[in-house]
C-alpha cells in the first residue's frame, strides 16, 4: 500500500481490511511527509492491527523513490512485538526465546539509526534468538542526523530504542554493497563508539584525507566534508566475504571522524571507493541472491542506505530499477517496498549479525 497524501484514518481502514490475526504491518513514513505521528498512532490504535513503524529519509515503492508519503507492507507469521528502550545505556534485558528456532523464523527489527549502542543491541538480539534464524531490518531517523523520536508502535513514539518482531515466516536475504578497496589496511587505534579518533596512532582525519585527496584530486578544504566523504567510506574487513562499511559523515574540531555505526577500537580498516555501475550491480546482485532462494514470496522488502542515494544522486533511480528488474526476472510477484535507512541490519545463517552502512539488503518473505 502506498499513500502519497496520507490520511491516518484512511491508512488505518486500509490496514484493517487486510489484517489477519498474525499480520504485522510495517508502516514506513517519509520524513518530508510532515505527518503528525501521534495522530497516526491514534488512528492505528483504533484498529485491531499489529503494527510497527518508522520515519525514514525516503521510501521505495515498486521502482520509484518516494520523498513524501507512507508505504505500508504486511508481513505474516507474527509471534510477538518487543521493544528495547535505552540503547545508549544498554539498560534492557532481552528475553531468550525458550526453544531453538530454525531458518523458517525471522526477526524483523527497526532501530533508532542515530542511537549509540546499536551494535550491543544486535549482539543481545543474536544471543536471544540464536544463529539459525534470519535477521533483517534497518535504522530509522532523519537525514538531518539530529536524533529525535523516529520509531512507533502501540507502545508510543520512541527515540534511542529498537522494535523487534519475531515472525514465523521463511525469509530470504541478499546483502551487497559494491564498494571496493582504495587504500589500507589501517588500524583504528583509538575509537569511542562511532567516533574514530586515531588511525595508525595519528589523528584519524589526517590519515583519511591523505588517501582520499590523492584519489579525489581536490582538498577537503575546498568543499564540505561529506560532499567528498560520501564517496569514500571505511570498510571493516571480514574474512572471505564483503567488508562491513562504515560511513564517515563528519569531522570534528579534534580531527576525529564521526561514523554511522560503531567502529571497535583496533579494527582493521580499509578506505573504500565506489563506482556507480558497481554499486548498482551489487544492489541487483543482492536482489538476485534473495530471489534465487525464494520460491513464491508473499512480500518483497528492500532496506537500502540513504547515503547510497546521496552518492549515486540521480543515478539511484537506476539502482531501484535494477533491483525491481532483477526481482521481476526471477519471477518475484509482490511489489517491492522499502525504506532508505540510516544503517542496515542482516544475518542469514552465515555468521554474526551486523549493522551495515551504504549497503543494500533485499528481503523476500514467503
Amino acid at each position: 500500500m502506498i499513500f502519497t497524501n496520507p490520511n491516518p484514518k484512511e491508512i488505518a481502514a486500509a490496514m484493517q481490511q487486510e489484517a489477519t490475526p498474525d499480520s504485522l504491518f510495517v508502516v514506513m513514513v517519509a520524513e518530508n511527509t510532515g505527518a503528525d505521528i501521534d495522530e497516526f498512532m491514534a488512528a492505528l490504535n483504533e484498529t485491531s492491527c499489529q503494527y510497527i513503524g518508522g520515519l525514514f529519509p525516503k521510501l521505495i515503492f515498486d521502482n520509484a523513490l518516494i520523498d513524501q508519503g507512507v508505504v505500508v507492507t504486511r508481513l505474516q507469521g507474527l509471534q510477538k512485538i518487543h521493544i528495547a528502550r535505552g540503547l545508549a545505556e544498554g539498560n534492557y534485558n532481552l528475553e531468550k526465546h525458550p526453544v531453538a528456532l530454525g531458518s523458517d523464523y525471522c526477526v524483523f527489527t527497526l532501530v533508532d539509526g542515530l542511537a549509540s549502542g546499536i551494535s550491543g543491541f544486535l549482539s543481545e538480539l543474536y544471543r536471544s534468538y540464536g544463529s539459525e534464524i534470519r535477521y533483517f531490518g534497518g535504522g530509522a531517523g532523519s537525514l538531518s542526523l539530529q536524533q529525535a523520536p523516529c520509531l512507533f508502535s502501540r507502545e508510543g513514539f520512541l527515540q534511542d530504542a529498537a522494535i523487534y518482531c519475531l515472525l514465523n515466516q521463511s525469509t530470504h536475504l541478499g546483502v551487497k554493497h559494491g564498494w571496493e578497496k582504495l587504500g589500507g589496511p589501517f588500524v583504528a587505534t583509538k575509537t569511542t563508539a562511532n567516533v574514530v579518533e586515531e588511525i595508525n596512532w595519528r589523528p584519524a582525519f589526517e590519515v583519511y584525507r591523505e588517501v582520499v585527496e590523492a584519489d579525489y584530486g581536490a582538498s577537503f578544504d575546498s568543499q564540505p566534508f561529506f560532499d567528498i566523504a560520501k564517496g569514500y567510506p571505511f570498510g571493516m574487513v571480514r574474512e572471505g566475504t564483503e567488508c562491513v562499511v562504515r560511513d564517515p559523515i563528519a569531522v570534528n574540531d579534534d580531527g576525529h571522524l564521526i561514523c554511522v555505526g560503531e567502529v571497535p577500537e583496533n579494527t582493521f580498516l580499509d578506505v573504500l571507493k565506489g563506482k556507480n555501475q558497481e554499486l548498482i550491480a551489487a544492489a541487483e546482485q543482492a536482489a538476485m541472491i534473495a530471489a534465487d532462494q525464494a520460491k513464491q514470496p508473499a512480500a518483497a522488502l528492500v532496506i537500502d542506505c540513504i547515503s547510497r542515494v546521496l552518492f549515486l544522486d540521480d543515478n539511484f533511480q537506476e539502482e531501484v530499477q535494477a533491483v525491481t528488474k532483477a526481482l521481476q526476472q526471477k519471477g518475484v510477484q509482490p511489489t517491492m517496498r522499502g525504506a532508505l535507512t540510516l544503517g542496515e541490519i542482516s544475518s542469514f545463517g552465515d555468521g554474526f549479525i551486523e549493522f551495515f552502512n551504504k549497503t543494500t539488503v533485499v528481503g523476500l518473505f514467503e
Binding site: K96, A100, Y126, S128, S131, G184, E239
Partner: protein, 382 residues
C-alpha cells in the same frame, strides 16, 4: 592485499580485543564479538572442568541444552591434545554442543584453567593447520585474561561477603542494644509494678501484668531464634550445588506453608537449575510466606514464574496483595526489619532470601506500588 598482511592485522585485532574488562562475561563478549564477526563464525562457547563437573562458562548465542550434557570425557580429550583441533560437525558433536549447530566445523581451542573455547564455522572448508597454529597463542592469551577475570570476580565476591558479615555484626549489635533491650525494659517495669502491687496487697492487680511479661519474653525468644537462624545460614558453595527441579521443590515448599484455600498459588513450568537445594527451598518458602502474610481475602493470588535472559534466569514471586510503599522498599531486605508490629514475625525472611540469592551469584529486587501488589524478582546464573 596479501594473505600474510591480512593474517597479521587479523591477529593484531584479536589480540587487542583481549582483556577489555575484568568482568568475565564482558571480557568474553568483547573478544567473541570481534572473533565471530571477523572470522564469519556463527557461535562460540567456553566450558571448564571444575570439581569434576563440566561448567558452561559462556555462550553466544545463549545456550539451550543443559550443561551436564557436555560430558567430561569429551572436553578432557580436547584438553589432553593441548592444541587447537578442527572437526567436522556430525551428529555426535552436535549432540554435545550447547547451541544448535548444523554443517561446517567446530574448532576447539584449549585454554588455561581447564577450559576449552569452541567456535562454530559454517563454512564448508576446514581450518588449515597454519591458521590454527597462528590463533593458538592468541586464544591462550585470551584464556589467561579469563583466569584473571575469574580471580577478580572471586576476590570481589569475597570482599562483598566480608562487607556483608561486617554489616551482620552491626545488625546483631543493634538487635542486642535496641531490639532486645526494649522488651527487657518492659519486663523490668512490669516486674516493678507487680512488686508494688504485691507490697500494696493487691495480688489481683499484679496478675494483670503477667501476660505482658510473657508477650515480651516471646518477643525476645523470637528475636534470639531469628539471630541463630540467620547466623547458621551456611555459605552456599559449589560443593553443595546440584541439579534442582524447581517445580518439584516448590511442590514440597507448598506443603510446608500455611495458607487459606481461597488464596490461589499459580506456578508456571520452571527450568532445572544448578543450586544448593536446601537454600533454594528456604528462599522460595520465605518469599511465599512473605506474600501469604500480606493476603487475606478471596481473589488473592500468588504467581511464580521465570524469564530466560540468556546467561541467567530471572525468577519472580508476585502477589496481588496490598503492596509495599516506596519508602519502605529498601528496608524490607534488612535483617530484623518489619513493616508491621506483628510480634510473631522475626523480620529476617527477606534478609535470608537476599543472602541466598547473592550466594548463588544473583541479584534480588522488588517492584511494588502501594495497593498494587508486590513482585520479588531474583536472577540466577545458568
Amino acid at each position: 592485499m596479501s594473505g600474510t598482511v591480512q593474517t597479521i592485522f587479523s591477529l593484531y585485532e584479536l589480540s587487542m580485543a583481549i582483556g577489555k574488562s575484568l568482568n568475565y562475561k564482558a571480557n568474553c563478549d568483547h573478544f567473541m564479538k570481534v572473533f565471530l564477526s571477523r572470522k564469519m563464525l556463527k557461535a562460540g562457547w567456553i566450558v571448564q572442568i571444575q570439581n569434576k563437573n563440566v561448567r558452561l562458562r559462556y555462550a553466544i548465542p545463549a545456550p539451550y541444552k543443559p550443561k551436564e550434557e557436555v560430558t567430561i570425557k569429551y572436553i578432557q580429550e580436547f584438553l589432553d591434545q593441548d592444541k587447537p583441533v578442527c572437526v567436522a560437525v556430525d551428529e555426535q558433536i552436535s549432540n554435545v554442543c550447547p547451541v544448535p549447530v548444523s554443517g561446517g566445523y567446530i574448532i576447539a581451542f584449549p585454554m588455561a584453567n581447564q577450559s576449552v573455547l569452541f567456535v562454530h564455522s559454517p563454512k564448508k572448508e576446514a581450518w588449515a593447520d597454519a591458521e590454527l597454529r597462528q590463533l593458538d597463542p592468541v586464544i591462550r592469551k585470551f584464556g589467561m585474561s579469563l583466569l584473571a577475570s575469574s580471580d577478580f570476580e572471586e576476590q570481589k565476591r569475597l570482599l562483598k561477603r566480608l562487607e556483608r558479615n561486617n554489616k551482620d555484626l552491626n545488625d546483631y549489635a543493634h538487635v542486642v542494644s535496641h531490639d532486645l533491650k526494649s522488651p527487657l525494659r518492659n519486663i523490668h517495669s512490669l516486674v516493678q509494678w507487680i512488686q508494688e502491687d504485691l507490697e500494696g496487697d493487691q495480688p489481683d492487680q499484679a496478675v494483670v501484668h503477667m501476660p505482658h511479661i510473657y508477650s515480651s519474653l516471646e518477643k525476645m525468644d523470637g528475636l534470639i531464634a531469628g539471630i541463630l537462624r540467620y547466623s547458621k545460614l551456611r555459605e552456599t558453595s559449589q560443593a553443595n550445588a546440584a541439579r534442582v527441579n524447581l517445580n518439584e521443590l516448590i511442590d514440597e515448599v507448598l506443603t510446608l506453608v500455611q495458607r487459606q484455600d481461597a488464596i490461589k498459588i499459580e506456578v508456571a513450568p520452571l527450568p532445572e537449575i544448578r543450586a544448593d537445594r536446601l537454600r533454594m527451598s528456604q528462599l522460595f518458602q520465605n518469599l511465599i510466606d512473605n506474600a501469604l502474610a500480606a493476603m487475606r481475602s478471596t481473589g488473592d493470588r500468588i504467581e511464580i514464574g521465570y524469564k530466560d535472559l540468556g546467561n541467567f534466569y530471572e525468577f519472580h514471586v508476585k502477589d496481588n496483595g496490598p503492596g509495599i510503599a516506596m519508602a519502605h522498599q529498601e528496608k524490607v531486605f534488612q535483617v530484623f526489619q518489619k513493616l508491621d508490629a506483628d510480634s510473631t514475625k522475626s523480620g529476617i525472611g527477606l534478609a535470608i532470601v537476599s543472602r541466598i540469592v547473592e550466594d548463588h551469584g544473583g541479584q534480588l529486587r522488588l517492584e511494588s506500588e502501594e495497593g498494587q501488589g508486590a513482585a520479588f524478582y531474583f536472577t540466577h546464573p545458568k
